[in-house]
Symmetry: C2
């Protein structure tokens, strides 16, 4: 079934909010076998909403709108929906009760604008919002389904998962299936990777599998898509292609689908019963933040020392002053001492460390911006690696963090 | 002048890539006075690209496309553009030279797919890409401007800034001006804030200023929009409204436009000649990462101790074992000791700390998930604050990090 996603809000058009709702909806719907044919971003404007609803209905069976349902004055979506579906706004006493209860439970005063959210179009099915006060709405008109949801991601996702997905799934009985498999790689650029896997890619055409390269800083995702009727056959085809690729680039593939580097490393640490500490200079806490983004990471992660000054490298970690004088903070010697020291200080099985010039300032001829050293100290001694990155601070910090976690991953696979 | 943004790529529709390009373009164009009327996300599909180009031209003077120009096989945009603009692909020897030079300078082998990127539509103006190998293209047809750019954000932004913005700005002489001012607040939810500033908001209508609330976790941005001809008059109107709001919520406004909490705090630390260290438990490095995302932060930030275990709180920071036994790790007493201790350990003027239950696991009846203590130790002694947040781990970490930086900001304003 074809879907169109309509995102409503001036803040999206002028870029004050990034449209993560559309990405999330696209991903979820695609995984369930729906086909997303168009995405529209439009202003909080009655004529534009009406026009886009009409045009979308020509090309899609399902139209999902997000945004424009908040309690403040910049929202007009609800009134426009009433016009499009030719229905009045009526007070829904049950929703009103829920809104009042919600505000009592979080101990906040209730305002008129909040109560007004119980005014809803008469001919829609209400999709209750257990996380906020703006209800979702499900309309049907001329065999098309229209769904309107609040723009707050947390609330929108809740309503989709509790009500919309189950309802939609019951509609797609005999349709063609679209199966995707995403393979995540680290350590090779897009063009270089494409050259290495060229013959494998050529074989995909015969297997009727489509391939897309999805590069982002430090990562290239490969998305395989197979379309057909038999679920098991499609799955087998994707598995076979994946296993052939694994033979070609065994070290570069770190995970599948939505796996994250920090999640994969966390699982390995649990499996190998190892604990971890980090010593960060140029990454400034980014590695620790990635690791602790995983719920339950406290079972293997003891902590981090972010030693952002030479002084703190000496006093907190125990790096030798002489090493800093002889080789400078951005060096193999210092980053290896950091990894060894933090492992001892925090009494862990593994210590990982970073030291580099994230930029845009601070570079020299010998050590230009983007020069980063990373190290892992653990059961097989110390390994370190020099990275030569670019000029973008944010990107350098991110790629360095990913790389040191990958170096740890490869070390953990050896024990 | 009206603009439409077209983002090309299956990966956007199925949510494997978040459409940050459209946000960035929208923000930049809006700031320059262009009006973004529509955003479209479409698949790598010839018919859909042709159709969307045509429809966009009915409603906009400027059409900007991103994506679909990479070296790998999933790209078809360039051929479709040749069809739409009725022009052949021809080899551009200058671009070919640049591509070869680029690969030599980064010391990577050059592939045929890279060289093919020098094949470009004959009747376009080429927009050189100094950061990659896919050139941008500028077409004009029936008084409309069409711009096609690579989808890699870093490359797209480079081409926009070097070539497209200057060229576009020369086109908007006598148009109406749209001025925006964004006011950033922390510490009040959207509905509550709306109630407090209601009378101010009502006055805006008379001043012909539009207001939008843009809530995100821990932050509500207020966007004021004024439209007119006289630039100075519009600026004055926005300044007056802003200064009136400042009287109403002096502690909540932390910055304007694209200011970040970490940037504002960094500037204050420089101005007051103070240094900073952080001790993080539940935020796990997130506060340090925010601080060090600012280039030059090493001049005021000495480092962080991420004490993720009780052991590390005692050994690395010097928190008393008895305090942990008596009050638990998530307590006023522990978080205050952490802030005081890290300030001493890292020899700084200020120490800030966090300890809490980020969730989703780890809560108890007395201290449910979302209970977080934050503290600041500095020139006026120690202050601390309890936060009562929700159940979302990522959000709790982010809001806690913002809150402790804001507590520091308010303390720095007192000295």
């Amino acid at each position: 079934m074809k879907c169109t996603l309509i995102s409503i809000g001036d803040e999206l058009l002028i870029g004050q909010t990034v449209n993560t709702n559309a990405s999330w909806l696209g991903e979820q719907l695609n995984n369930l076998g729906f086909s997303i044919v168009f995405g529209a971003v439009i202003p909080d404007d009655k004529a534009e909403i009406l026009n886009t609803l009409y045009k979308s209905s020509l090309n899609s069976e399902i139209i999902i709108m997000t945004g424009g349902l908040g309690p403040t004055k910049d929202d007009i979506t609800k009134h426009t929906l009433c016009e499009y579906f030719e229905t009045p706004l009526v007070l829904n006493p049950e929703i009103e009760k829920k809104i009042i209860y919600y505000f009592q439970s979080v101990n906040r005063p209730i305002l008129k604008s909040n109560k007004d959210q119980a005014l809803l179009p008469e001919n829609c099915t209400i999709l209750p919002n257990s996380r906020g006060t703006a209800s979702g709405m499900w309309f049907e008109k001329e065999n098309k389904i229209y769904i309107s949801l609040p723009g707050v991601p947390y609330e929108m996702k809740g309503i989709m998962q509790e009500y919309v997905f189950p309802k939609l799934l019951s509609k797609i009985g005999g349709e063609k299936l679209v199966l995707n498999k995403t393979i995540r790689t680290h350590g090779m650029g897009e063009s270089f990777l494409a050259e290495i896997i060229k013959s494998w890619e050529d074989d995909l055409v015969q297997s009727e599998i489509k391939l897309a390269y999805l590069p982002s800083p430090g990562i290239v995702k490969l998305r395989l898509t197979a379309i057909g009727i038999n679920n098991e056959r499609l799955k087998d085809k994707l598995e076979l292609a994946t296993s052939k690729l694994k033979d070609l680039i065994p070290n570069e593939i770190y995970g599948y689908e939505n796996a994250t580097m920090e999640g994969v490393v966390g699982e390995l640490l649990i499996k190998k019963k190892c604990s971890l500490a980090t010593a960060e200079s140029c990454t400034g806490g980014s590695v620790a933040k990635m690791i602790t983004s995983i719920s339950g990471s406290s079972s293997y992660f003891n902590g981090s020392i972010v030693s952002y000054s030479n002084d703190s490298k000496i006093n907190l970690l125990g790096v030798k002053n002489q090493t800093l004088i002889d080789y400078g903070a951005v060096s193999k010697q210092v980053v290896e001492e950091m990894a060894v020291d933090v492992k001892i200080k925090l009494k862990t099985d593994y210590g990982i460390s970073t030291s580099g010039i994230a930029g845009p300032g601070g570079g020299s001829k010998d050590k230009p911006v983007g020069t980063v050293w990373i190290a892992v100290s653990g059961k097989n001694g110390v390994v370190s690696k020099k990275l030569t990155l670019g000029y973008n601070r944010e990107r350098n910090i991110h790629v360095s963090s990913l790389s040191v976690l990958n170096l740890l991953r490869l070390e953990l696979l050896k024990i």
